[in-house]
């Protein structure tokens, strides 16, 4: 991979993805091989929105590479509260760190920020936009459990605002995957994303559904996302809709025995706890994979840092 920044999974080719996943697998198999590799280097964490898994796994990854982190802290305690622009904030912090990780509520924030800095910048979520490092750990988990060749995947829940979904769909279009999108009509994939997927060379196969029933038996992977209360005008409507996109042991009776169930977490009640101890469940493994995958990404970005992109 020869990119200075990781902004969207759209920028990644199949080769790029496989290179990162292969590197992550090497690190996963022998974490000690990279211990101390980036000693003395600092990763700047700029999270303008709350995060547990993403922030902690980046921090863990950097520390396991021998480096350390500097953290902007919460927006409330930073100069953003005084009205500083993002463009100014990133230009200041790049002077403190060797690479930056940015999460921001507005779409396009990471792309804009990357235009103001010379150190590598990773988009850790920009509003309803993209979350490419999550996609890498999703792909890693898929490859480990079901393989990326001849894959049939169902992606269910909030497809409109779910940035992990958009990033995953783009990345999967590099592979021979049949993608089924299952959501209420009001939370369908943004038309922009559908447009892009149809533009892809090789004819990515995508289909949209309102119910999981018909498609469930054919799936190798079911990727569930949370439908958020605030997307609906009233509680009743939310309860009614969200209830149709929850899975439990009874739902999965129709599924293949080899089905892998994934979720970017946090979940609320989309997946019943009774699934956790079955062979279907891969969501905790998926969260753990965040560390080796982010170690691989940081290792590669820090190695390239400062060099010109191809």
């Amino acid at each position: 991979m020869r990119h200075d920044h990781l902004i969207t999974s759209k920028q990644l080719s199949r080769d790029d993805v496989e290179t990162v996943l292969d590197r992550a697998a090497e690190i996963d198999a022998d974490p000690s091989s990279v211990a101390g590799r980036h000693a003395g280097r600092l990763l700047g964490l700029l999270f303008f929105e709350p995060s547990t898994r993403t922030k902690m796994s980046f921090e863990t990854a950097m520390k396991r590479l021998g480096g350390d982190v500097v953290d902007m802290g919460s927006v409330e305690s930073s100069s953003v509260k005084k009205g500083e622009t993002l463009a100014d904030t990133v230009r200041v912090i790049e002077g403190y760190a060797d690479a930056l990780v940015l999460r921001h509520p507005q779409q396009g924030a990471a792309k804009m920020a990357s235009e103001y800095v010379d150190v590598p910048l990773v988009n850790a979520g920009d509003g309803a936009g993209h979350h490419p490092s999550q996609t890498m750990l999703d792909l890693y988990t898929i490859r480990e459990n079901a393989g990326l060749e001849d894959l049939t995947i169902g992606i269910m829940g909030d497809l409109k605002y779910g940035r992990t979904v958009h990033s995953l769909a783009y990345a999967l279009s590099n592979f021979d995957a049949r993608q089924h999108f299952i959501s209420p009509e009001s939370l369908q994939l943004p038309r922009e994303v559908v447009y892009d997927l149809h533009q892809q060379q090789g004819g990515t196969q995508i289909r949209e559904h309102e119910s999981i029933e018909a498609v469930l038996p054919s799936l190798d992977v079911l990727y569930v996302t949370r439908i958020q209360r605030e997307r609906f005008p009233d509680e009743n409507e939310y309860q009614q809709v969200a209830g149709e996109y929850q899975i439990d042991a009874e739902t999965l009776e129709a599924a293949s025995d080899d089905l892998t169930v994934m979720h970017p977490l946090p979940r609320v009640d989309e997946i019943a706890p009774e699934i956790d101890d079955t062979d279907y469940a891969a969501y905790f493994e998926q969260a753990h994979n965040g560390v080796p995958v982010r170690m691989a990404l940081l290792d590669m970005l820090l190695e390239n840092g400062g060099e010109d992109d191809e």
């Binding site: 993002l86 463009a87 507005q106 779409q107 396009g108 792309k111 804009m112 235009e115 936009g129 922009e192």
Partner: protein, 156 residues
């Protein structure tokens, strides 16, 4: 196309110096004026012909603006809503320059993104940037695609 004045151009008076925008798609003349920021409030001398018969377009609009030559930025945005337009620069009643508009690959700092969640809509120092698609424009930052009413996005 002949250089002789088109019959229909005679329907609106000649201008002394300024710009004649011809072969605008029928019904788009007011959007052309919007792009140029002309609403008549500043006393500009403007002639507009709407839905006049045309060999090339069946129905076309034509806009004549006295005392104003278009900038490249204005021509770029114009090309999005009037891709067949011809720009005639007139000085002392003579057409000194005649060109067809060309669709640019990118328009910068001219349109504002309609997505309120886009980083370009806040206080950041960044200029808006749109890639030009075959049938619309797309924000380079948030990815929003706009196909209709592009003129309504013109930054004022």
């Amino acid at each position: 196309m002949s250089n002789a004045p088109d019959d229909h151009e005679l329907r609106v008076s000649k201008i002394r110096s300024g710009t004649v925008i011809d072969h605008v798609r029928g019904g788009q003349a007011l959007n052309v004026l919007a792009i140029l920021g002309i609403d008549g409030s500043e006393g500009e001398e403007v002639s507009v012909g709407m839905n006049v018969p045309s060999d090339r377009l069946a129905r076309k609009d034509i806009v004549k603006v006295e005392g104003r030559e278009l900038s490249q930025d204005e021509v770029d945005v114009l090309s999005l809503i009037a891709p067949d337009a011809t720009i005639n620069i007139v000085r002392d009643y003579e057409v000194v320059e005649k060109s067809r508009v060309e669709r640019p690959e990118v328009v910068e700092g001219v349109l504002s993104c309609p997505n309120p969640g886009c980083i370009t809509t806040g206080d950041e120092p960044v200029d808006s940037r749109f890639e030009v698609l075959e049938d619309g424009v797309r924000c380079s930052y948030c990815g929003t695609i706009v196909r209709e009413e592009i003129a309504s996005l013109i930054e004022t």
